[in-house]
Amino acid sequence: MIRNLCRLLFVLGALASFVARAQLTIEIVGGGATTIPIAIVPFANEGTFPLSVTQIVGNDLSRSGLFKLVDAGGVNPRPARAEDVRYGDWTSRGADAVVVGSLTPLSDGRVEVRFFLLDVVKQTLLAGFTYVVAPAQLRATAHRIADVIYEKLTGVAGVFSTRIAYIAKQGAKYELFVAEADGFNPQSIVSSIEPLLSPVWSPDGTRIAYVSLENKKPVIYVQSLATGARQVVANFRGSNSAPAWAPDSSKLAVTLSKDGGSQLYLINADGSGVQRLTTSAGIDTEANFAPDGRSIMFTSDRGGSPQIYRLTLANGNVERVTYEGSYNVSPRHLPDGKGFIFVRRDGNRFNIALQDFATRQVQVLTQGALDESPSVAPNGKLVIYASETGGRGILAAVSSDGRVKQRLTAAASDVREPAWGPLVK
């Protein structure tokens, strides 16, 4: 029943809308200043398969806000190989790039997917790949193709093959879902009648740590995605919360109150070897590891108001990082190590912002009233966060330059606490 309720519309602003089953509806609410015009020719034989690979590729690319789809219809004969492409057909349509390909059923039941990406301006082949996959993998293959195109044309890794986790609250039930980055194929990995919060992916992509109140107090669990088995990692006297993975996936930084106050500790991913990291009279929480694993940013009110600090692990030095405003929380490093995303309060509004380490310049990226829980895509280009509209929790995404905005909603449930998974290797 609930699963049926969860089946939602997937609407894409740039294309004619189509219907599919998904947990989240993704809607583009703002686009990039410059977009790359690209024509995606339906692949040969595509019509004989239940899902359209090129439609998924097109959806992925246009959702990123960096591409504009150019009509690919009416070109005869329809090109399927690089050598079939007549560049004049595409320059006249204003396309800077064109994608062609084919799907070929093999005798063992698998499908051979071939695609070619061509630069129309330079008249060169940019990429050509062949995948042999089971029909069930066609959707994943489409995301891979979109990743290749994105990377070739923007110079940055694509994140269409990654997954996201989030918490949905429906009535009195809390569920932790894992879905594809476009919101499709949501799978509930844990459900509870008590709140679930703070999911975080292990950097190796195999586990998710989260906090559950099912034990009438915050307890940290680590759950394997492959087996569904989970382990209590921290259930000490008091509250156990705010898990953050070390880059090597072996340890977590957590917030424990077992020794009084809320302080940061390091703990092995199996719950052994607790080691205290901070000793302050105030609150220390919301740890987040630097990509190199050498330092941790966290939220602390040791200076009076909640601000973001950085702890260097080698020597224990702590330095304050945010100075503007009276409420700066939830720091998340950008993967290039050059800055961080955080939540700042301005009056009664809570918004997602970016601060550059070198210049200390702050750029506010969102305009909602209650934006929180940011999570940075592994390519650093998008930030997914929780927001609210009409008293209901929704997820939204914004590009780290603030230009591209997406809104992700789920019918009949509150969605919150998004966590972006790592790149798929």
């Binding site: 799978q187 509930s188 990995i189 844990v190 459900s191 509870s192 009648i193 709140p195 919060l197 703070s198 906090v211 109140l213 099912e214 034990n215 009438k216 107090k217 915050p218 759950q223 087996t227 569904g228 088995a229 989970r230 382990q231 209590v232 990692v233 259930n235 000490f236 006297r237 008091g238 509250s239 919360s241 705010a242 917030t255 109150s257 077992k258 009084g260 106050g261 809320s262 092995n268 199996d270 719950g271 052994s272 607790v274 609150i283 929480t285 919301e286 939220t299 909640p306 409420y327 929380v329 939830s330 939540v343 309060r345 009664n348 809570f350 209650l370 929180e372 829980s373 008293g391 606490e417």
Partner: protein, 183 residues
């Protein structure tokens, strides 16, 4: 004194249990919640749910003072001002009653659950709720309770009493709730 020593020893043992790595509860991958297993885990790790209430000053035949609506012990909620952890004077009689009760009933165990209103980071609010719970515990200790009798935890903004998005709702959500183990 001897009983204190025993309970202190128990506390140490329980603490030792808590810091040992816990086992994987393998099983149903989707519906991970297993009420019996979770309940058992909780009892073992908090170390509070197996001790029955003993030595009630009013005697076993009498009504439980914790349930008597005319007793200050029946009052269980302390509300806080915005951004504050100061326990207001109006709650002192109630807190004193709870402190004295814990002093007179060394076997009694309570949990203080701190909560915040809905504004701000979920995790930072967990820490703020914890501070509220700790503030109340500190007062109970002054009135004769002992450390081992009180566990302070936080629900942050996760379990509001009221769902509204206005000051009246927020005021009811900034609170500590006292729950006696075994109730």
């Amino acid at each position: 004194m001897k009983r204190l020593l025993v309970s202190a020893l128990c506390a140490v043992l329980v603490a030792a249990c808590q810091s040992t790595p816990t086992t994987t509860d393998a099983g149903a991958p989707v519906e991970e919640r297993n009420p019996s297993a979770v309940g058992a885990t909780g009892a073992a790790t908090t170390g509070t749910s197996t001790t029955p209430l003993t030595g009630s000053p009013t005697g076993a035949a009498q009504a439980n003072p914790l349930k008597d609506p005319s007793s200050p012990l029946s009052k269980r909620i302390v509300y806080f001002d915005f951004d504050s952890y100061v326990v207001k004077d109006e709650y002192k009689p109630m807190i004193e009653a709870h402190g004295r009760y814990l002093q007179a009933n060394r076997g009694a165990r309570m949990t203080i659950q701190g909560s915040t209103d809905e504004r701000g980071s979920r995790e930072y609010n967990i820490a703020l709720g914890q501070r509220r719970a700790d503030a109340l515990k500190k007062m109970l200790l002054l009135y004769g309770a002992t450390e081992i009798q009180i566990e302070t935890v936080s629900f942050g903004k996760e379990k509001p009493r009221r769902d509204g998005h206005d000051e009246a709702s927020w005021a009811e959500n900034r609170r500590d709730e006292i729950v006696f183990v075994g109730e």
